[in-house]
């Protein structure tokens, strides 16, 4: 950029303007008020965060067991941070708050000496525009770097630093990751969580990152509880064994346990609608529709296509649609609307051999039912040992909304539906 060009002058101007905004803060200290006084209590902040205060203007009311006083501000500026809030005590000498010295732009409008400097620049460069434009938000190198790395729109991040600056912690919270993960260093060092020299580093795919973010968000949002019931599916196993060949010939799809579980779950959700709901800001949203998400494993991740209006569909339709959704998911041919608006999720844990799992809830739903592998086991029935086809039903639920008794009743219903399987639901 040529010296003396308009852009150059603008850059110079903003640098002049910006620098004093981040000079160090003035500390407000709990004063010594009487020789034996060791601490004081903040009664009222006469200025709140973000408010301007003049030098010697009353700033905070303090009470001790001897005196009540209003403490004047030691300097002019903006209250940038209050450390000791109203009603709290602090020892003598403790920092109660910080005041940032006035930003140049504000000084400028007040007509101080820097305003004169600014207006000189403006006169010299009449095309720059109106005098005293507000500087843009200021971001540290670390924040800019993280925003670029994670594709974050910084205007969406709430700043908690002085003058609402977006700190590195703010953006890490926003991304929902631990600092140690994102700051993983490419330099080898066994003492850190970063990769060692011999480790390989692969880029994180969009799918992987989406899964990671969703999982972290769900765990941070909902206190998960997983409750496990055992279910005897001998009758279904027997029906399946007898009919699977004919079913497959007739419909072109394999007869799996999944549609039986979905059917049993839909009925239980209708009886226990709080599990077909969301815990939202505006209240408890009980969903009218029953849309069942089905977790499908992919080569490089997983996706949850949604079986819409499962309560309005018969067994055969549920079986066909779930098979088609899973196939389309594996081929990555799902439409966006096919993965949206789920109200409850079923996860076939048994597909990969798991007996029991603790699934993570798909937000903003409040429950997810895992169905473990069906295995034959010796089971005591009426004091005799029988060989039965058994499986585990693992319900993770959001304890903000659902309690153990309610979850237990729901699971009992699913269990009863499966154990009392009647061939009439299939036909």
């Amino acid at each position: 950029m040529r010296v003396g060009s308009r852009q150059d002058a603008t850059a110079h101007y903003s640098a002049v303007e910006r620098f004093p905004r981040y000079t160090m803060n003035i500390e407000i200290i709990m004063p010594q008020m009487g020789e034996s006084v060791a601490e004081g209590t903040v009664v009222t902040w006469l200025k709140k965060v973000g408010q301007r205060v003049a030098k010697d203007e009353p700033l905070v009311a303090i009470t001790t067991d001897k005196v009540d006083v209003e403490i004047p501000s030691p300097g002019a500026g903006v209250v940038s941070k209050i450390l000791v809030h109203e009603g709290r005590a602090a020892p003598v000498g403790a920092v109660l708050a910080y005041i940032s010295e006035l930003a140049v732009a504000e000084e400028a409008s007040a007509g101080g000496p820097i305003a004169a400097m600014a207006s000189n620049i403006t006169q010299a460069m009449p095309a720059v525009g109106s005098p005293g434009p507000r500087p843009e938000a200021w971001y540290s190198p670390s924040v800019l770097h993280l925003a670029e790395e994670h594709g974050v729109d910084l205007s969406q991040v709430r700043g908690t630093g002085p003058e609402r600056r977006v700190t590195r912690k703010d953006i890490l919270d926003f991304i929902g990751k631990e600092p140690s993960v994102t700051a993983a260093s490419p330099r080898g060092d066994p003492q850190t969580s970063g990769p060692a020299v011999e480790d390989q580093i692969f880029p994180i795919s969009h799918l992987r990152r989406t899964i990671a973010e969703n999982m972290v968000r769900s765990k941070q949002t909902a206190p998960h509880v997983t409750q496990i019931h055992e279910v005897d599916v001998t009758r279904i196993a027997g029906y399946r064994e007898t009919n699977k060949k004919a079913f497959s010939e007739r419909t072109g799809i394999n007869l799996t346990f999944l549609p039986f579980v979905v059917k049993a779950t839909v009925d239980a959700l209708q009886a226990h609608p709080l599990l077909n709901a969301s815990y939202a800001h505006e209240g408890i949203v009980v969903r009218k529709a029953v849309n069942i998400g089905l977790a499908v494993a992919l080569e490089d991740g997983l996706i949850v296509p949604v079986l819409r209006d499962a309560d309005k569909k018969n067994f055969l339709t549920l079986a066909k649609e779930s098979a088609h959704l899973a196939a389309r998911a594996r081929e990555k041919r799902l439409n966006p609307e096919e993965v949206q608006k789920g109200t409850f999720t079923v996860n076939n844990l048994g597909a990969f051999g798991a007996l029991i799992g603790t699934p993570i809830i798909v937000q903003p739903q409040v429950g997810i039912l895992g169905f473990g592998k069906v295995v034959k086991r010796p089971v005591v029935i009426d004091d005799t040992i029988a060989i039965r086809s058994m499986a585990y039903l693992c319900l993770s639920y959001d304890h903000r909304l659902i309690d153990g008794a309610y979850a237990g009743a729901f699971l009992n219903r699913v269990q009863a539906n499966l154990e009392g399987f009647d061939v009439s639901i299939v036909e």
Binding site: L83, V95, S142, G161, T167, P179, A183, S185, R187, G194
Partner: protein, 323 residues
């Protein structure tokens, strides 16, 4: 067993003298008198006058003789009575010891013990921290332990190192701290820093007596939710940038603390390297806490005001954490 920092140094010397008869010591009053701080008490009786040599008051001659012996394959350990007087041997250290390997291809396995640092009311000639004078010179290694374990392990590593090593031992720590030290060889590698306290808010990069003060600051800030990570450099030259960078990349906020004056101090170089190598990780300015640009004062009141301490470190660390 828990021993003092001074005892750790004494044990390292004793065990290395015992292990290798090429190791010998030179210094003022180290033999008959047992050393100004009694580090070498009993050595003359055990190892004899050929290996525990009382020298004239000429630091240049002492270091010069030691360099000659080192070039001939010996392992001399020189005691400067006070690090302040090392300036009398400056030419021998920076032009001879540091450069002979480069010039002649002959290593100079020399250790100079430099008792340094203040806090002992000893005034301007017996309190200085002169490590920055040597930090600038290629060919020297500089170490500055903060604990008895590091004191023993680093001195042994220094004696076995083929390069000239200046071993900065802090006089205030001599009898002020105790710590666990393993019997026998527990070498601390030269060039490796150690995180003395892991934390998440601010990286405090420090060494020597300031490690304890930084740990004290960390305790003071704990109740405020400010969690300092204290990185003890242990070796000043070569700097362990891997450990420093890993810490700063984790916290995004760095301050360097040393007892030596801020102007031209090692902290400036570390801050510059962080700006060069960790710019994208920084979320706040790099701060330094160090002594002012004045001679070391004699008055105890001024000395207390001059030296950094846990309160001063906590004050700056809080500013940084709240940035």
């Amino acid at each position: 067993m828990e021993i003092t920092y001074l005892e750790a140094i004494r044990q390292a010397l004793w065990e290395e003298m015992d292990r290798d008869d090429q190791v010998f010591m030179l210094g003022q009053d180290i033999g008959v008198y047992g050393g100004a701080f009694k580090v070498t008490k009993g050595f003359l009786e055990k190892f004899g006058p050929e290996r525990v040599i009382d020298t004239p008051l000429s630091e240049s001659a002492i270091v010069g003789a030691a360099i000659g012996a080192a070039l001939m394959g010996m392992r001399p350990v020189v005691e400067m009575q006070f690090a302040d007087f090392i300036s009398c041997a400056f030419d021998q250290v920076v032009n001879m010891a540091a450069k002979q390997h480069y010039r002649l291809g002959e290593p100079v396995p020399l250790v100079i013990r430099a008792p340094y640092g203040g806090g002992i009311h000893a005034g301007p000639y017996h309190s200085q921290s002169p490590e920055a004078w040597f930090f600038h010179v290629a060919g020297l290694k500089l170490v500055a332990p903060s604990t008895p374990r590091d004191a023993k392990g680093l001195l042994k590593a220094a004696i076995r190192d083929p390069n000239p090593v200046i071993y900065f031992e802090h006089k205030y720590l001599y009898r002020h701290i105790k710590g666990e030290v393993a019997d026998g060889d527990d070498l601390v590698p030269i060039g490796k820093a150690e995180v003395k306290r892991p934390g998440s808010s601010v990286s405090v990069i420090t060494y020597g007596a300031m490690v304890q003060q930084s740990l004290g600051a960390a305790e003071k800030l704990m109740p405020e939710g400010i969690d300092l990570e204290v990185v003890d450099l242990r070796t000043l030259q070569p700097l362990d940038m891997t450990t420093i960078l890993a810490s700063v990349e984790k916290t995004g906020r760095a301050m360097v603390v040393h007892e030596a004056p801020k102007t031209g101090g090692i902290g400036g170089d570390i801050a510059a390297r962080l700006a060069e190598e960790a710019f994208h990780y920084l979320d706040a300015p790099i701060l330094r806490v160090a002594a002012p640009h004045t001679p070391f004062p004699f008055s105890p009141v001024l000395e207390a005001s001059y030296l950094p301490n846990a309160d001063k470190i906590a004050l700056k660390a809080r500013e940084l954490a709240n940035f």
